[in-house]
């Protein structure tokens, strides 16, 4: 019986939260890796693109709610998502036109474009704060739980409760659908294949008659969509705060680099790897250990390796280890 309790505690405190967080990171990392693959630079503005897109989605949600629209048991934000994506994609395309296109034309070194993207990042974070402010915003509605801790306890008779929030389930389902759609697009459509071809060998793609500006535009649209979906799911799951999205930049890039920059499959694997490491290292294992260890041997300490305040250092450590020992990542991406 104790062993069962340990599994439930593990599910409740580690596996479910980490899987939901991993799905959010994976979507963000996919956006980062696509931009890296096609435009050949690390887009530092990604975190603030997420913040901006989520802010627009929240505005849309409020507007819908003020008109009495709701999405039943699902969050209203899902209805506002296409609006958020459209506005963010338009902003990304405008930014490309004003900033990045110039650097493409002069064939600037990637590091120069990275610095330019930092400038874009500051501008975007300023716009976001003007639009929606710096406060924490909760915009989730609909049904709160799929499985509730108390009813789970009553139904199973276990001491440990298991809670599955609807936003967590929603995150995982949405991420799976989005990833499936993206892979279908990249592997089965002419446009998707031309994107991969451009990412693989730019010169040969030009020789084959692939229009680079079209590829770049589609990449921005897809990357914006991924960023807004990831940002909105994160905001639904936790809460919206512009600064938090900037902080997500580190785990997202850690995920993309671990998986191999430019490799979509790697981005997904990397997202989950970073999420599970982060949650695993900052979780206090005392409770689980207490169930599994023989009586009397249960530890007194919390068995927490790092305080949650330091959770971003996990991504940082992963990033450094990968860059030192396997710069191309698990799935053989481009060397950084």
């Amino acid at each position: 019986m104790d062993f069962l309790n340990a599994i439930v505690a593990l599910l409740n405190f580690v596996i479910i939260p980490a899987a939901a967080y991993g799905a959010q990171l994976a979507l963000g990392a996919l956006g980062a890796t696509l931009v890296y693959g096609v435009l050949r630079f690390s887009n530092f503005a990604l975190g603030d693109t997420m913040a901006f897109g989520t802010a627009i989605t929240i505005l849309g949600t409020w507007w819908l709610q003020s008109h009495g629209v709701s999405f039943g048991i699902l969050p209203t934000a899902l209805l506002a998502l296409p609006f958020g994506i459209a506005v963010t994609a338009a902003l990304a395309l405008a930014t490309d036109r004003v900033v990045y296109r110039y650097y493409r034309q002069v064939r600037a070194k990637p590091v120069i474009v990275v610095i330019a993207s930092m400038g874009v990042m500051f501008v975007m974070s300023g716009i976001t704060r003007f639009v929606i402010g710096v406060e924490e915003i909760r915009f989730v509605d609909g049904t709160k739980f799929v499985i509730e801790a108390n009813s789970f306890k009553q139904a199973t008779g276990l001491a440990e409760g298991l809670a599955l929030r609807s936003t967590q389930l929603l995150t995982m389902v949405t991420a799976a659908l989005v990833v499936a759609a993206l892979f279908w697009f990249l592997n089965s459509t002419r446009t998707g294949k031309s994107m991969r071809a451009y990412s693989d060998n730019e010169d040969l793609a030009l020789l084959s008659g692939i229009n680079p500006e079209r590829v770049v535009a589609i990449t921005w649209i897809i990357a914006s969509a991924l960023a807004v979906i990831a940002g909105t799911l994160y905001g639904l799951d936790k809460a919206y705060k512009a600064f938090n999205y900037f902080s997500l930049l580190l785990p997202i890039f850690a995920a993309a680099v671990v998986g191999g920059l430019g490799n979509p499959l790697g981005a997904i694997a990397g997202g989950f790897l970073v999420a599970f490491s982060e949650v695993g290292v900052t979780y206090a294992w005392k409770k689980v250990a207490g169930y599994v260890m023989p009586e009397g041997l249960a530890p007194d300490g919390l068995l927490q390796i790092l305080s949650t305040d330091y959770k971003f250092s996990v991504s940082f450590a992963i990033l450094i280890l990968v860059l030192l020992f396997k710069p191309t990542g698990i799935f053989k991406g481009k060397a950084v």
């Binding site: 002419r190 294949k193 031309s194 991969r196 071809a197 693989d200 060998n201 010169d203 040969l204 793609a205 030009l206 020789l207 084959s208 008659g209 692939i210």
Partner: protein, 234 residues
């Protein structure tokens, strides 16, 4: 009138000219080979024909039409196919996807052309689901040539197709190139393996310092004692 007539080409990448009054001609369905010592401007001459180099003098005519001002992409649409020496495949994409990308500008059904490429290079049919980057050097060259054939070019240009492949594979590749020429496609090829290349060449160009030194049929160049002594190692 030759099918390809690139005449009196003069130009280079920067201020200094690399090509000096260089002339290359290819007849319909024939094989022309450019040979010469290192740094003779062989690849540069080919790039000039393909429009990757700004010419300060001379002109390029394909099938009688002046294409001197066209970009490489527009020349592909006019019926030129180009196989670069290196980085000539999409490594992470499958063989079949490589061929599909070769046919990107075609709006019609290219399945028949793909079958022709597979008939020409049967090994590619077996490996069509495999990533091109995982193939051997010789197989990768076949993918590269196959990709260029997908636009159904009238002139196929090959920049050192046998660079870095074993002698057996080299013979095999040359055989395939002859087969391509027999279907009526003109071929312009730069080759480091001068002897073998001249053996299959209808027309040979020996370039030295960006200018034509000897121009004759492949056989005649092979027989010329001067050419043999200076460029073919005796």
């Amino acid at each position: 009138m030759s099918f390809l007539a690139a005449e009196n080409m003069t130009g280079g990448y920067g201020a200094a000219d690399i090509l000096h009054d260089c002339t290359l001609r290819v007849e319909k369905g024939q094989i022309a080979v450019i040979v010469g010592p290192n740094g003779a401007g062989k690849s540069t001459a080919m790039k000039a024909v393909f429009g990757m180099l700004k010419l300060r003098g001379g002109h390029v005519r394909l099938d009688g039409e002046d294409i001197t001002q066209l970009s490489p992409q527009d020349r592909v649409a006019k019926g030129m196919g180009f196989v670069p020496q290196v980085n000539n495949v999409f490594p992470s994409m499958s063989v079949e996807e490589n061929l599909e990308m070769g046919a990107f500008i075609r709006k019609d059904d290219f399945k028949a052309t793909m079958e022709q490429v597979y008939d020409l290079f049967p090994i590619l049919r077996d490996k069509r689901r495999q990533a091109a980057g995982e193939l051997s050097g010789g197989q990768r060259q076949q993918v590269a040539v196959g990709r260029a054939l997908m636009t159904q070019p009238k002139l196929l240009m090959l920049d050192e197709p046998t660079a870095g492949v074993s002698p057996i594979v080299m013979d095999e590749l040359f055989d395939r190139i002859i087969e391509v020429a027999r279907t009526g496609i003109s071929i312009l090829m730069v080759e480091q393996n001068a002897r073998q290349a001249l053996e299959i060449a209808d027309q040979g160009y020996v370039l030295v310092q960006g200018a034509n030194r000897y121009t004759d049929t492949g056989k005649a160049l092979m027989a010329d004692p001067e050419v043999r002594r200076t460029f073919l190692g005796g």
